[in-house]
Amino acid sequence: MTDAQPVPHPTTPPLVQVVQLKKHFPIRQGLIFEKEIGSVKAVDGISFSIQRGETLGLVGESGCGKTTAGRTILGLYPITAGQVIISGISLESASKDQMKSFRQKAQLIFQDPYASLNPRWTVSAIIGEPIRVHHLLPDVKARDERVHELMLKVGLSPRLINRFPHEFSGGQRQRIGVARALASNPEFIVCDEPISALDVSIQAQVVNLLEDLQDEFNLTYLFIAHDLSMVRHICDRVAVMYLGVIVELADKDELYENPLHPYTQALLSAVPIPDPKKSRARKRTVLPGDVPSPSNPPSGCRFHPRCPVGIERCKIDIPEWREITPGHWVACHLVMNPEIL
């Protein structure tokens, strides 16, 4: 269980370090004389670090850039600007060999258990792929044994080793995805909405599995999700993203009980509570409008057009990213200068 683990010591260097990471996708026009007419600023300068054995939650609404952030951190998209350092290897300056070891150490669990498994491959081929690619076990028999072992670890019967993905239910497929991610003995796993496509009763099974594996192998997770209740359950610290930037980052209980950024406050008040009495009693902030387009984000604080408490200054100045209390970071003019309220 996560709470039984020692709290990561702050003086040890973090396993994952992300510094001012940016990922922009160009918007092109024209067929032959293609020219760039703008860019989608999917991730626009985010920084955080994750300690070994820790789970950091990355939450936000669709289109806020959380999935792009996760994939850029794993080197699946070329970085526009900034730095990612995992286990001492910097993604930008890594040599070919280092890159290989990077890919072995950092893995990804996908959101959609239906689309992320090759339908023509057997479970054995799917889970065995990272072992083959990284030449971890050259012997075929040893590889099969390892696949057996991994299947048992994630709660699948090894009898099913030669079945195809369509023969499994959503929850079982997600277990296959987890086993595949584990196959290369990673240290860091990005879980990109691993339970969003599953039913409630199955979600709990997969979450418990992820927690057990973390304890057993001392794994470090970046848990990307939009379900704030699940994030509170599984994460140690939580970062809230809005339109390509992180607006608040804190210890999970601090963030959920004392949210400082108006967006975090609104987001938390919008989460339905499965308790009719509590849900009637609480006050809700319903945000007006939709998330603006990341190709043309609002000036100043990106949240200002929807912010219930914004002031003139929010339209002009970009709020600074500051640590308000130890470990609690926020970017908002009003939180930093309460006197202007």
């Binding site: 269980m1 996560t2 709470d3 609404e61 669709s62 239910s169 929850g171 079982q172 039913d199 409630v200 009763s201 199955i202 979600q203 709990a204 099974q205 979450v207 418990n208 927690e211 939009h226 704030l228 209740s229 699940m230 509170r232 359950h233 599984i234 999970k252 209980d253 959920y256 009980e257 609104a266 987001l267 938390l268 008040s269 919008a270 989460v271 339905p272 509570i273 499965p274 308790d275 009719p276 009495k277 509590k278 849900s279 809700r284 319903v286 945000l287 939709d290 998330v291």
Partner: protein, 331 residues
């Protein structure tokens, strides 16, 4: 007198699908009622038959492969299951309107939103262009779409997900239906947008005195919107209760397990989630006994052989379980 009777009463509905692999027992004897001005929620996991129940009532099940093997759906005294396609067409959208889960695919992409919004007004109410335009503007304002005159000329792709769902609701409201069936209307939306839509439906329901059937898998949304809740599992109705009773004192082991499996945003105690072992049963096998038996920690012999009926366990509270879970005794 008319007002005292339920506006919709469904009795022993059974829907099956005959496919190449055999017969899918999708809905197995579901009965419930909906009162005037009431909001009920139909909850369950994917494949539990909640959408098929509603589609059967609305005559939207393709026959074949579908078959409505049994049942009645009385709307103002008329059995919807016995109506002809023409009669049903007349009723759909006018008396009973539906809002669907996916606001991205529910609209025709090559027609303007205004044209699609105006269609039911033309078909059901025979309105002319001018009246349609005026009512459309009013409806768009009512559902909170700004700059309605301009937005009516837009195509679906120009709307965001939340806006499309608002437009869907406007469309459902245009003939002032007495029942609104909302099939997972917020599942595809973000929480902040979901909050907007939940609030909108609540306001409209009060203003127009509609009855609402809200189909969802999200027990959090149910707690917010419903007065009475029906829990479905594998095509069976397993529990029915007023919303407060259901959350405080769930009586069916499935409902209990489901509530225990939920992580809570308002709790910080980190404990292991109670997962329900196994998966829902295969609907291709004709049900004998309780559908939850393989995953139930209390199951005994009777559960395997005979499906328990809905048993009264409290005032307005019924559960289909052979066991009285509060005392641990057989019924």
């Amino acid at each position: 007198m008319e007002l005292e009777k339920p506006i919709l009463e469904v009795k022993d509905l059974r829907t099956r699908f005959h496919i190449a692999e055999g017969t899918v027992y999708a809905v197995n004897g579901v009965s419930f009622h909906l009162d005037h001005g009431e909001t009920i929620a139909l909850v369950g996991e994917s494949g539990c038959g909640k959408s098929v129940t509603m589609m059967s009532i609305m005559g939207l099940i393709p026959i074949p492969p579908g078959e409505i093997a049994n049942g009645q759906a009385l709307y103002k005294g008329r059995d919807l299951l016995k109506l002809s396609e023409d009669e049903m067409e007349d009723l759909r959208g006018k008396d009973i309107a539906m809002v669907f889960q996916d606001p991205m695919t529910a609209f025709n992409p090559v027609l303007t939103i205004g044209r699609q919004l105006g269609e039911p007004m033309r078909v059901h109410m025979g309105m002319d262009k001018q009246n349609i335009q005026q009512l459309s503007l009013e409806l768009f304002e009512q559902v909170g779409i700004s700059d309605p005159a301009q937005r009516l000329k837009d195509y679906p792709h120009q709307f965001s997900g939340g806006m499309r769902q608002r437009a869907m609701i406007a469309m459902a409201l245009c003939c002032s239906p007495s029942i609104l069936i909302a099939d997972e209307p917020t599942t595809a939306l973000d929480v902040t947008i979901q909050a907007q839509i939940v609030e909108l439906v609540q306001t409209i329901r009060t203003n127009m005195n509609m009855s609402v059937i809200w189909i969802t898998h999200d027990l959090g949304v149910v707690a917010e919107i419903a007065e009475r809740v029906l829990v479905m599992y594998a095509g069976f109705l397993v529990e029915e209760a007023l919303v407060d009773d259901l959350y405080e004192d769930p009586r069916h082991p499935y409902t209990q397990a489901l509530l225990a499996a939920l992580p809570r945003v308002d709790r910080h105690r980190h404990s292991r989630l109670q997962s329900i072992p196994g998966a829902p049963p295969n609907l291709l096998v004709a049900p004998t006994g309780c559908p939850f038996v393989q995953r139930c920690q209390f199951a005994f012999d009777l559960c395997r052989n005979e499906m328990p009926p809905l048993i009264q366990v409290g005032l307005n509270h019924q559960a289909a379980c052979w066991l009285d879970v509060t005392t641990g005794k057989e019924r």
